[in-house]
Structure formats: structure tokens, C-alpha cells
């Protein structure tokens, strides 16, 4: 019911002003300026990127089911525009008893949650095995960056296994007490240790009588909740904060945008970068907007003067719109679409933090 609930929440806020694929992109965490504008406009920051493995087919099936049940109401015959119906809103109200929607903090954590869990579980597996002097275990995580992180830590942690394990225990135990018993158990069931391999998502789904999709989402929610608590009280969770420390938001930027950024920092012009990378200028513009969206240190003044920035922001608040065309019409002619997008993206960036 979790997937359905979140779709209904999204469509309740969007109220048919966007097609259903906007919701799909939000849940997948699409890094396009459109989607990021949508989450702010409709206050759906928390659900951004919470279900990265969502398949279009499944999403469409859910939309159809909700429509058939009368929870979603189609308001256009030509386009897939949906509103959450009265029945849908009632159902949502009731569902809050069972579904912890407030756990999710997608915009903040969608790029970190997975790395955090992977580091933690691989670290526990490594330390417990090393504590038992058993070195032949098969690591449950094979993400290279996570492996390297655990390896580096392990070199320092050797022979201090039991001390670190008890620190992890203390912090995890107090964190998990803020969750329901079932949620805490789900989390513990997924961890791997010495001669003990954690449950797969499907196994959790069977045990807790949920669909695999809901289990996946629920687990993500639990991690987001834990991350929120760790950040709110980082002095109580020094070790968990340490695990999180260098998982930065740089994962938020696509690889391609990142390499554009490297060229920019070396002082190459947009035209040159486009040539070197054999890409269209417009693609490079898109990259720069993406960087502006995620990098707090983005030097926006290199592209738009302070004065023009203010004009754009003013136009956007007067027209009460993020529609580029309307903004473009109400600012000076020399201001380009690219500059408008850049300023809006940068504003989101500052708001998001």
C-alpha cells in the first residue's frame, strides 16, 4: 500500500497540473530541471528519488489500479492528468496510521541512503568475521567505492573489532528504539554478519507480509528516518556520523555533468567543451544547470550578473510561476533562457539546503 499511498500523496499536491509521468520522474529521482522544479512547486521534496528502481510498467499499473478503485480521478481525455479523489484523500488519511510517510526525506538523502546502508552492512560483516578470525567470507556488497571505504577503515580497526562492534551496537540500538519494533526488526534482518547472511528484499516481504515494492520503499523510509535522527543529534551518534561523513552530494550530479564541470573549472569555454566532448552546446548548458542545482559553490556570477539575477527572481515571484516563457517575457530582452534556468536552479539549490 506504500507505493499507492505515495502516488496518491504526489497527485494530491499536483492536482492534475502535470501528467502522471511527473510523479514517476519524482519517485525515480530524475535529475532534470523540470522535475526538481516540480518537487519544490508542489512540495514533494520528501519523495524525490525514493524509488530509483521503479519500473515504468509497474508505475502505470498502479496508476490504472488507483484509477479503477476511484482513488485517482482522470481529468483529461487527451492527456494522462490525474487528481486524487475525495475517496483517495480519505484513504490517505486513514493510511497514515500504518504508513510512516514522514520518514521520507528524499531530496536530502536519496543520494546517500544506499551508500550509508552498504557501508554499514559491509563493515559489520567484515568486523564480525575478522573478530572470529574467519577471512573466507563472501562480501555482500560489491560496490567498489564501498569496498574501498571499508578496507581503509578496516586497516585501522584491526584488533579493535569488539570495541567498534559495541559502539555500533550502542548507537544502532538507541537509533532503532525510535522506530517501531517491526521496523527495527526489518532493519536488523537485512544485516549480514559472521556465517549469517541478511535477508533479501523478497524474503523480508514474505516475512512481513508486504509486496516486494512496498518492502523496498519501506526500507528506504527507515534509512531516511535513521539518517535524519543521526543528523539531528550527531553528537549522540558519533560513529554513524563518521560513516556518513564523506558520502557527499556529489553523487547527485551525473557523470557526464561532472566531467563538464571539470573542464569548466579548468577555464574552458562552453563552445570548446562542446567540441572536445563532441556534444551539443545545449547539452553543456543542461549540465551547467544541473551543477547549479546541486553544487553550493557554483560560481553563478560568471554566467549572470547580480542585477540580472535579481530581475529574474523578481519576475518569477511576480508571475508566481516557474514557467520559463512567462519569466522570459517579463525580463529584459538580453537575458537568455539559459540564464533564467540557471538562476532558478541556483535558487532551488540555496532553498534546498
Amino acid at each position: 500500500m506504500l507505493v499507492e499511498g505515495i502516488i496518491l500523496k504526489c497527485s494530491m499536491n499536483i492536482q492534475g497540473e502535470r501528467t502522471d509521468s511527473a510523479i514517476y520522474h519524482i519517485l525515480k529521482g530524475k535529475r532534470s530541471i523540470q522535475t526538481v522544479q516540480d518537487i519544490h512547486l508542489y512540495q514533494l521534496e520528501n519523495f524525490f528519488g525514493v524509488y530509483k528502481s521503479l519500473k515504468k510498467q509497474l508505475f502505470e499499473r498502479k496508476i490504472n489500479e488507483l484509477n479503477a478503485k476511484g482513488f485517482l480521478q482522470r481529468i483529461s481525455t487527451s492527456e494522462p492528468l490525474f487528481k486524487t479523489s475525495k475517496a483517495g484523500v480519505d484513504w490517505l488519511d486513514q493510511s497514515t496510521v500504518e504508513i510512516p510517510y514522514h520518514y521520507f526525506a528524499g531530496l536530502k538523502y536519496n543520494g546517500m541512503a544506499n551508500s550509508f546502508f552498504e557501508r554499514l552492512t559491509l563493515l559489520i560483516q567484515t568486523l564480525t568475521n575478522s573478530y572470529m578470525k574467519y577471512y573466507k567470507f563472501i562480501p555482500v556488497i560489491d560496490t567498489t567505492s564501498v569496498e574501498n571505504w571499508v578496507k581503509a577503515l578496516f586497516l585501522k580497526a584491526k584488533s579493535k573489532e569488539s570495541y567498534i562492534l559495541s559502539t555500533i551496537f550502542q548507537e544502532l540500538e538507541s537509533l532503532l528504539h525510535y522506530l517501531t519494533d517491526q521496523e527495527a526488526e526489518m532493519f536488523v534482518d537485512r544485516l549480514s554478519g559472521y556465517k549469517n547472511y541478511g535477508m533479501s528484499i523478497h524474503q523480508l516481504a514474505v516475512k512481513y507480509e508486504m509486496t516486494s515494492e512496498d518492502t523496498q520503499l519501506y526500507f528506504t523510509g527507515i534509512i531516511h528516518r535513521m539518517l535524519t535522527m543521526i543528523e539531528n543529534a550527531n553528537s549522540s551518534f558519533p560513529f554513524m556520523s563518521f560513516i556518513l561523513k564523506d558520502i557527499s552530494n556529489k553523487h547527485m550530479i551525473t557523470n557526464s555533468a561532472n566531467s563538464t564541470y571539470t573542464f569548466l573549472k579548468r577555464g574552458y569555454s562552453i563552445d570548446t567543451i562542446a567540441q572536445l566532448r563532441q556534444l551539443k552546446n545545449n547539452t553543456i548548458y543542461d549540465h551547467i544547470v544541473e551543477i547549479a542545482l546541486y553544487d553550493a559553490n557554483f560560481p553563478i556570477h560568471n554566467y549572470v550578473s547580480k542585477e540580472d539575477q535579481q530581475k529574474i527572481m523578481k519576475a518569477s515571484s511576480i508571475t508566481r510561476s516557474y514557467k520559463l516563457k512567462m519569466i522570459k517575457q517579463s525580463v529584459d530582452e538580453h537575458i537568455s533562457y539559459f540564464q533564467i534556468r540557471l538562476v532558478l536552479a541556483y535558487a532551488k539549490n540555496s532553498l534546498g539546503r
Binding site: Y131, S162, F169, D181
Partner: protein, 515 residues
């Protein structure tokens, strides 16, 4: 190298005190620079033959294997036993990561590589500058057009070996008929190769074929059998969905057994978890597709069930061979229903492009020739563009290259040639389908065999077989009531609270003596 010396190395590097059948003979030949063709049954530890050699030889050992997940598993296992100078190269690696690895290829002793990647000039150039002392062709039957798993890429291996300054060759397979063996030797152009052929029959496995009318009859058979015995069990399916469905139904029917499914469509973390839970006896039964089992080395699997008919005897023999590696009494059960016959037929069809596919590919290619003239460099994109599966595209790419219609990614157009080639490929598809259908008929015939199943299962691979250690087969009077496999002793299944589980996991409150 003297024998005790080899055994010492085996002990030091891999922790085994003795060699299994065939291993030592093969390694000795390799160490003396002789080419070897090894046909060893599944589960006989084929990989030790090159892993130990790689440790002992001066230069680098390259292993070509089409089974990417197997390569990755082996690398993990080797690293776990402290063999660190090993790497698996495949097309799934991030280009950045791959480039990094390429720069330090000389630091590895053992390099696994997929046949697709080995075709790339960039990699060939780097490898040709290194000292390669052994070139291993795993699953060597893929070289034979008449094998059940022909891979065109394999036919180019002999030229690649030449660019690597002709290192020693080790060709390995678990299933190679004498025809296929001849094809391997011809294709690699090593007539003096030394053959080490070992029989594949397993004297501790009994064979049962049970014919049923419909699928509905299969579930009760499974649940009865698995209620009576608590034994590590693999159930093979031809479809991911059925594996999932039956896993669910069985779990409901026999909740006191720990059951999970496994297939290639699962997330990596979950695949490792399920595989290792089974290795670790945290699970009793796995419902799986053929993706499961390669590279896992669990000695106490007692029962291998085929819920669907496999498309040929070779894969059946390989899958059954995962049972009873410890030599204890084990059972193979094949559930056969005439209504299932469409499944292997459909698999066969899906492996090759149809005539319509071929027509549409040709017209697509012509369109591309008239616009950009180049195919996308990403194979996945090409497959999507031409709407072909990976196997279909692999087959076609080889043919198109061979007949000069494409060169790397460039399309070369010549009307007359294209028309001729179309006919040629179309005929070839027909021939290959026929071959696969014959393979299917072979196993259907075996299922309906009235004589000893053991005798007829192995007849196309070897001339004789050992006398069975336990019961023989359902045609020689196998009786399930007399089957007494070693069972798993009582499993504690106490549900702890999450706090206690966490304590147990992290060794809290355990004093050091209790270790």
C-alpha cells in the same frame, strides 16, 4: 615439478590436501608447456587446474569465460582465500574503472575476460605487450558450431592467441562429445594437444523421471517429497516467474522448510545473500533458473529437481551434477509433462532471429546506412534499436561481420552481396534451429526411455559408466521409500527480539573464551 611439491602448493594456496581426479595430471602438463584439452565433469574442480597454474607460472594467465557472474564469483572466492592478483574484465565495468584497470594489467597473475571484450582491439593491444604464459578457454564447447551453446566469438580465439605470442592453451569443458572435442582442437589449430577426458557419470546419483498430466500435479509431488526430507535441494525452472510463484506456493504449503528463489533478474546484493544463505545452510530449498549454481561449491546438495524439461541433455547433466559432490546418496527428479513441451521450443526460437527479424534488421541497417552509416557503439543500444535479444544480436553480428556487411560499427552496403547474405543467414538459422530441435528430441527420447536411464543419459558422451553406488534409476526399480539421504540435523529456529538479534550479530555480551 614433482608431485609432493605440487600438493604442497595446493595446500598452501588453496587449503586442499589432495587433488581431485584429473587436476594434477592437467597441471603437470601445463607446467611443462603442453597444450591440454580437459573434459572434466561439473563439480570436479576444473578451475583449480588454471588457478594453481596461474599462481605457479611466471607470466599472466588469461581465462576466457562467457559466464560473467561465474567470473565475478570466482574472483570473490579467490580474494577471500588471499589470492589478490586477480581481476574479472567484462563489458559491465564502468569505462572509467576499466581504463584504470587496463593501466595496471601487468600487476595481475590471473585475468578473467569475457569473449566479447577480448574482441576489442584496445584490450588486445595491451595484452599483446604482456607476458602471457597460459591461455584458458573455459566452456570450450562454445567453440563448436555443433555444440548446444555455440558462441561465434569463440571462433576468433585462435587468432587472438597468435597475437599473444602463442601461450600454452588449456581448453576446458564439462560436456564435450567426441565431435565437439574434434571441433575444439581444429579451431584452436593445436593438433598435438593432450587430451584429458574423464567420465561424467555420477555413481551416487539416482535418476527419476516422473510423467504428469498437468502442472497442477507437480506441486503436491514437490511438497510431499520435501515434507518427508530436510535436505538441501535445488529446483530448476525455465522461467523466472514460475520459479518465484512456486517458491511462494511451496513456502505456504511447507512453512517448516526455508525456501527462496534465485534468478538473474535480482539485485546483486540479494543474489549474493540468497546464494550464501544456501551455502551456509540458512536455507533448505532454492527455486531457481539455470543462472544458479555456477561457481557455487556446496557439497551436500541431495536433491535436484527439474520442474521443466531442459532444452538438451548437456544442461540437464550439468545441473544434476551439482548434487552429491560429497559422494553421498543423492537424487535427480525430472517432472515431465507433455503440456510443457512448448517451453523449450520457445526458448530455442528466442535464441535465434526469425526470418521476419532478419528482414527487419536488414531494412533497419539500410536506413542507418543511408543516414549516419554507423551503428551505436554501445551493444545494448544496438540490441534495442534492432529489437533483438543479446543472443540473437551476438549471432547476427558475427554473421554480418563475416560476410562483410559491417566492419566494427560501420555499415558497408552492396546490394547484391546483401541479397546473397540474407539467403545464407536465413539458411543458417534454419540449420541451427534444426540442430537445437534435434537436441531437444534427444532429451525427450531419453525421458521416454524404457531401459536404464543412466545408461542412455551418458551414451553420447562416453562408452561406459560405473555401477551405481546406491539405487540406479526409475526404470531399474527405484523406490523412494528406500531412499535414505543424509538429512540436515535439527535446525534451531528460535525467533529472537530485534535487540537480541542485534546483540548476537555484533557479538555483544560474548566473552572472548566463547569464541
Amino acid at each position: 615439478m614433482s608431485q609432493p611439491e605440487l600438493e604442497n602448493y595446493l595446500q598452501t594456496y588453496f587449503g586442499y590436501s589432495t587433488f581431485r581426479v584429473g587436476q594434477k595430471e592437467i597441471i603437470q602438463d601445463i607446467m611443462e608447456g603442453r597444450d591440454v584439452l580437459g573434459v572434466l565433469p561439473t563439480g570436479s574442480g576444473k578451475s583449480i587446474c588454471y588457478q594453481l597454474s596461474a599462481k605457479l607460472l611466471d607470466g599472466i594467465t588469461i581465462v576466457v569465460s562467457p559466464l560473467i557472474s561465474l567470473m565475478i564469483d570466482q574472483v570473490k572466492q579467490l580474494k577471500a582465500i588471499n589470492f589478490k592478483e586477480v581481476i574479472a574484465l567484462n563489458s559491465f565495468m564502468e569505462p572509467m574503472e576499466r581504463r584504470k584497470v587496463y593501466q595496471k594489467l601487468h600487476t595481475y597473475k590471473l585475468i578473467y575476460v569475457s569473449p566479447e571484450l577480448l574482441q576489442k582491439k584496445e584490450l588486445q593491444n595491451i595484452l599483446s605487450k604482456l607476458h602471457i604464459s597460459l591461455f584458458v578457454i573455459d566452456e570450450a564447447h562454445c567453440i563448436s558450431q555443433w555444440g548446444y551453446e555455440f558462441r561465434p566469438d569463440y571462433l576468433k580465439l585462435n587468432t587472438i592467441v597468435e597475437t599473444l605470442n602463442n601461450p600454452t592453451i588449456l581448453a576446458l569443458s564439462a560436456t564435450a562429445t567426441s565431435n565437439v572435442q574434434r571441433d575444439i582442437i581444429d579451431a584452436m589449430k593445436r593438433p598435438a594437444i593432450i587430451k584429458h577426458i574423464y567420465p561424467m557419470d555420477r555413481d551416487n546419483i539416482a535418476f527419476c523421471v516422473e510423467e504428469v498430466e498437468t502442472d497442477n500435479e507437480k506441486l503436491p509431488i514437490l511438497s510431499n517429497l520435501l515434507t518427508n526430507y530436510r535436505i538441501p535441494t535445488l529446483i530448476y525452472f525455465s522461467s523466472r516467474q514460475t520459479a518465484e510463484d512456486i517458491s511462494k506456493l511451496l513456502s505456504d504449503k511447507i512453512p517448516f522448510r526455508r525456501i527462496a528463489f534465485y534468478h538473474g533478474g535480482m539485485e546483486q546484493i540479494d543474489r549474493i545473500a540468497i546464494q550464501q544463505q544456501f551455502m551456509n545452510d540458512q536455507l533448505d530449498i532454492i527455486c531457481c533458473t539455470s543462472a544458479f549454481g555456477m561457481g557455487i561449491n556446496k557439497s551436500n546438495i541431495r536433491l535436484v529437481i527439474h520442474y521443466h524439461l531442459p532444452p538438451q541433455l548437456e544442461s540437464f547433466i550439468q545441473e544434476v551434477g551439482r548434487a552429491g559432490r560429497d559422494g553421498e546418496s543423492s537424487l535427480s527428479l525430472l517432472l515431465f509433462s507433455k503440456k510443457d513441451l512448448y517451453i523449450p521450443k520457445r526458448i530455442i526460437q528466442s535464441e535465434l532471429p526469425s526470418k521476419q527479424d532478419l528482414q527487419s534488421v536488414f531494412s533497419h541497417l539500410l536506413n542507418i546506412f543511408n543516414s549516419s552509416g554507423k551503428l551505436p557503439s554501445n551493444e545494448q543500444q544496438v540490441q534495442n534499436l534492432l529489437q533483438l535479444s543479446e543472443t540473437q544480436w551476438r549471432f547476427l553480428r558475427f554473421q554480418l561481420e563475416k560476410h562483410g556487411m559491417i566492419d566494427e560499427n560501420t555499415i558497408l552496403y552492396e546490394k547484391e552481396n546483401w541479397e546473397k547474405v540474407f539467403q545464407k543467414i536465413n539458411n543458417l538459422i534454419f540449420e541451427r534451429s534444426l540442430l537445437k530441435e534435434n537436441k531437444l528430441n534427444e532429451i525427450i527420447q531419453w525421458v521416454h526411455e524404457k531401459e536404464c536411464l543412466r545408461k542412455h543419459l551418458y551414451k553420447s558422451f562416453q562408452s561406459s559408466y560405473q555401477k551405481p553406488k546406491f539405487q540406479c534409476c526409475s526404470n531399474c526399480g527405484f523406490s523412494i521409500s528406500e531412499w535414505e539421504p543424509l538429512e540436515i540435523t535439527n535446525v534451531k529456529n528460535v525467533e529472537l527480539s530485534w535487540e537480541n538479534k542485534l546483540k548476537k550479530l555484533l557479538f555483544i555480551g560474548v566473552n572472548d573464551e566463547a569464541k
